[in-house]
């Protein structure tokens, strides 16, 4: 069919065609080798890392939070271990048999058995541990430990809960811990260049963060650093072996300036009335007492509380969650008078001999409006000292009347009004130091002379927190030397500043102190009932915050039928004189009398601090 010539042509064509395909394959082969070369040699390190990341799984290990101490080294917040029974599901072949066997040693209720049964298979598949029973009793621990050789696939593990040893005394000052949002967690982990991942918890309620108070402000110190366990895993994420363990760095201890004993005393004396107590060690500016009442148990919030109980707290009309010490706004009332007196002296509006007649009221010349004092008929002839002791409103109305509002505001601001005077308090309120600008912007009214007059007795728009009032007291006690407040000792060096007062001499300060001593020690003093409660000398200024303006005592008797309308009782005090160590402010809402209601609390707290 095919002749010889054709056969030669055919053979040649075949060879050519086969060689074409072989060459084509040869090209593919070279291309393939190039690809393999680039994967294995050029990009080797990338793929080496990718392979390593594939088989590596990091598990975070939660650090234990630092312990919080009072200023004398008493432990306030600690970590209390509870003991959980943990099993290794991947090593247990027959769960029912295992439960049967371990039930003879440790009783399991149906919830616990259900939980284990539900989660067993999944945990077994990925070689993960499973909690069989939480919070074992001592008896259970002992029963298990002596028989542990029978249960090689179960062990007891320690889990902590955060516990405040005095849960009601420090619920606002130290605050509480709680769960953490994803963003917070991510930012915490980012600091350590970690990713959010599976975590071995040291706390039974998982990730914790300081929510309020010192727990919040010093969260970073208290928190510590996460450790990690590094496992080799297979493609399904099953743990094969632990390859490395970087231990967590537990949180640092925190030595606060808070004084346990004074908190106990203050809490006792407040007796769940609405109010706040703040005391300051004058020399250091450290806060030793920081109490807002009524309070709540910070442990309940940190470690779990039924939603019913929580709602009850939320709806409590006394607002136990409200931090009155740092966030409650109160008119300083008569406690402002020492600052106003100093203003008069500084501006040479008065001197210690200057006196006026107090008829029991002050008439504003501009509009003949009457501003009343607290005592019908007045106090007669009063100078600055007497005006402080008897708390003459007329004296300070007329002094304020003569003042320049801008200078007066500036003067008051030097005492911390309207300012943040604490370096590490949680969410402190700034109170309100009203200015003409503020009034026109917020109330749409111009500033009246009457507003300035009201400022003279600490009423009207002016408001301050108990923290600010205690600071104010400490500045007066320290003769104008002021230091910002702190809750934790030994932190950054605090600068002390002097008030920018040019005309105030040491003798003026001494006379001011002696007037304030007179508030208690003088027979006419507004807080004279406190005299017998102490063994040393205390300087003070009491105040009564009028919530409803009334013309007469009879009118007040009517409005006081409603407890919420009653005046707030307020006092600032410092001692022992003449070298005061502690300054204190006390507010009792609707307590009516600064001297006789808030006063005893202030004295008791000073006693506890001074006589310690």
């Amino acid at each position: 069919m095919i002749d010889l010539e054709e056969r030669i042509v055919e053979k040649k064509s075949f060879f050519n065609r086969l060689v074409i395909i072989y060459l084509f394959f040869g090209l593919i082969f070279i291309f393939f080798l190039e690809r393999t070369y680039s994967l294995q040699i050029s990009e080797f390190s990338d793929y080496e890392i990718a392979a390593l990341e594939n088989k590596t799984k990091e598990v975070l290990v939660q650090p234990v939070r630092g312990v919080i101490y009072d200023r004398n080294g008493a432990i306030i917040v600690n970590n209390v271990p509870s003991y959980d029974l943990i099993i290794k599901p991947w090593k247990i072949l027959d769960l029912n048999k295992f439960i049967e066997k371990i039930s003879l040693v440790i009783e399991l209720n149906s919830d616990e058995i259900d939980f284990v049964t539900e989660n067993f298979n999944q945990k077994a598949r990925y070689n993960r541990e499973l909690i069989l029973k939480k919070d074992l009793t001592r008896v259970e621990i002992a029963r298990f430990e002596v028989r542990s050789f029978k249960f090689p696939n179960a062990f007891i593990d320690k889990r902590y809960s955060r516990k405040n040893n005095y849960p009601h005394l420090f619920s606002h000052a130290i605050g509480y811990v709680g769960g953490i949002s994803n963003e917070q967690l991510n930012s915490i982990l980012e600091d350590q260049a970690l990713d959010q991942d599976e975590t071995i918890f040291s706390y039974s309620n998982g990730f914790l963060i300081g929510k309020t108070g010192i727990e919040n402000k010093y969260d970073k110190t208290l928190r510590g650093l996460f450790g990690k366990k590094i496992y080799e895993v297979d493609a399904r994420g099953k743990f094969l072996k632990q390859t490395n363990y970087i231990e967590p760095k537990n949180g640092g201890s925190l030595f606060t300036s808070l004084d346990l004993n004074s908190h106990k005393v203050a809490y006792d004396k407040m007796n769940n009335r609405r109010g706040a107590v703040v005391a300051i060690e004058i020399e250091s500016g450290s806060i030793v007492t920081y109490l807002s009442t009524p309070s709540f148990s910070s442990n309940d919030i940190s470690n779990g509380i039924s939603s019913k109980a929580f709602n009850a707290l939320l709806k409590d009309p006394n607002k136990p969650f409200f931090d009155r010490a740092a966030q409650g706004r109160y008119s300083p009332a008569s406690t402002i008078k020492p600052a106003i007196g100093l203003y008069g002296l500084e501006e040479n509006l008065i001197d210690w001999n200057f006196s006026i007649n107090d008829p029991g009221y002050f008439i504003l010349p501009e509009d003949q409006r009457i501003y009343r004092g607290w005592r019908k008929g007045g106090h007669g002839n009063v100078n600055l000292k007497k005006a402080m002791i008897v708390s003459s409103n007329t004296f300070f109305f007329s002094l304020a009347y003569q003042s320049n509002i801008d200078n007066l505001i500036n003067h008051l601001s030097n005492f911390g009004f309207g300012k943040d005077i604490c370096l590490d308090c949680f969410n402190p309120d700034l109170g309100l130091l009203p200015t003409p600008d503020w009034k026109i912007n917020n109330l749409n009214f111009g500033w009246f002379k009457g507003d300035t007059v009201n400022l003279g007795v600490g009423q009207g728009y002016l408001s301050a927190t108990p923290l600010q009032l205690a600071y104010y007291a400490s500045v007066i006690a320290n003769k104008g030397i002021n230091k910002k407040l702190t809750l934790v000792n030994n932190q950054t060096v605090k600068v002390s500043e002097n008030l920018p007062l040019k005309n105030i001499q040491n003798s003026d300060w001494e006379k001011l102190h002696s007037s304030m001593i007179g508030v208690i020690d003088d027979p006419q003093g507004t807080a004279k009932r406190l005299k017998g409660l102490k063994t040393y000398t205390v300087a003070a200024k009491s105040g009564t915050v009028e919530l409803v303006s009334t013309e007469t005592k009879e009118d007040y008797k009517i409005i006081r039928e409603n407890v919420g309308n009653r005046d707030h009782a307020i006092i600032i005090a410092f001692g022992p004189m003449p070298e005061p160590k502690y300054a204190v402010s006390v507010i009792i809402e609707n307590g009516e009398s600064g001297g006789s209601v808030a006063g005893p609390v202030a004295i008791a707290v000073l006693n506890s601090l001074i006589e310690e």
């Binding site: 994967l39 294995q40 080496e48 990718a50 594939n54």
Partner: protein, 366 residues
């Protein structure tokens, strides 16, 4: 070069180059498989039975004279097509695909047989046709190739289908398909690609191709295989992680490590050096086939050797290309290395036939 072993009056047709290199590959394959199967001795024992049987089969298949294959090629083809029909009816369904006939002791992937019987049949059909192949014969051939491809494709088994298709086309091309026909049809195929894409490919196949174009598209979806395979190969580096120390394979990151992706295991554990050594054996086999094709006794033998060796080469390159990610994932084993009986045995048979074609000489050429 001895092509015959003489035992007194009894002679065995034998090519020791191919025999030694294929045996070497098979033994290396068993060695790799032990690691790839995560030291599963059962798998290796089962595979070594196939290897042993396959080597004997190869020897046996190389004994008959090429004329035997030429004469019976039609019957072989009909039988293998019947097997595919049988698979359609009695086949074992795995993952939605009906490709296997359960023979009790062995599950046979029937399409593996047709990829040998088809090229032999075409060689026997075309060996006496004048050059260039006439349009009539070209169409008859193409219709045959197309129908068999369609049968396999419907199983569905696109990978093997393509190899069967290629096997047929290789023979047609080698036999002297006219260049004009080649260029015309090539142009037509290019034009009809969009139509094929829309009507012929299953959604998962389209997805595979799309993933292949942009593997970063879904690292844990369909490109998982490619990504993990690349990591395995790349992390092997120059000299590899060491035998049985490949983490990608041993921690199950690499899918199909015993079958389609066994090359990635080898590359991970033996590195670029190991890859080069392994590939040079394949390369040697292909060159030997080229040599044998050139020296074959007649056109039928030439076509058969050329066609079967190209089937072998195509399977290898599709597998390699898929594993390193230069072509989309299609199920394709690595010849003589991957686990799996049917494919393994089919290549022993193919090489047995190649050896038969190469070693039987005729005193007078036709």
């Amino acid at each position: 070069m001895k092509k015959k072993l003489d035992f007194k009056n009894f002679s065995i047709y034998f090519d020791h180059y191919l025999f030694i290199s294929i045996t070497l590959l098979s033994v290396m394959g068993l060695f790799f498989l032990y690691s790839a199967s995560q030291e599963d001795l059962n798998t290796v024992i089962k595979q070594s039975i196939f290897v042993g049987f396959g080597l004997i089969l190869m020897l046996a298949v190389s004994q008959p004279d090429p004329d035997f294959y030429k004469t019976f090629s039609g019957i072989f083809l009909v039988l293998s097509i019947l097997l595919i029909f049988a698979t359609m009816i009695f086949g074992k369904e795995i993952n939605g695909a009906k490709r296997w006939l359960d023979l009790g002791f062995f599950t046979l992937q029937t399409s593996e047989i047709v990829k040998i019987s088809l090229p032999i049949f075409l060689a026997s059909y075309l060996y006496n046709k004048p050059l260039p192949i006439s349009l009539k014969h070209t169409f008859i051939t193409l219709i045959l190739i197309g129908s068999i491809f369609f049968l396999v494709y419907r199983q569905p088994d696109l990978g093997t289908g393509l190899v069967v298709f290629m096997a047929g086309v290789y023979i047609l091309f080698l036999a002297g398909l006219s260049w004009r026909f080649i260029f015309t049809s090539f142009g037509l195929v290019l034009l009809s690609l969009p139509f094929l894409w829309n009507n012929f490919l299953q959604p998962f196949q389209r997805q595979r191709i799309l993933t292949f174009m942009d593997p970063s598209n879904d690292p844990y979806g369909s490109s998982w295989n490619i990504t993990q395979s690349k990591i395995a190969i790349g992390s092997g580096g120059m000299s590899g992680k060491g035998y049985q120390d490949g983490s990608q394979a041993h921690l199950n990151f690499l899918p199909e490590a015993e079958t389609d992706f066994i090359f990635a295991v080898i590359a991970e554990e033996f590195g670029f050096v190991g890859v080069c050594i392994l590939l040079s054996i394949f390369f040697f086999i292909l060159l030997r086939c080229l040599y044998l094709a050139f020296n074959a006794r007649d056109r039928f033998c030439r076509l058969t050797i050329g066609g079967l060796s190209l089937v072998f080469a195509s399977t290898l390159f599709i597998n390699l290309g898929m594993v390193v990610g230069i072509i989309p994932v299609v199920g394709m084993p690595m010849p003589f290395i991957s686990k799996g009986g049917s494919s393994l045995l089919s290549f022993y048979i193919a090489f047995g036939i190649i050896i038969s074609m190469a070693t039987h000489k005729k005193l007078m050429q036709k």
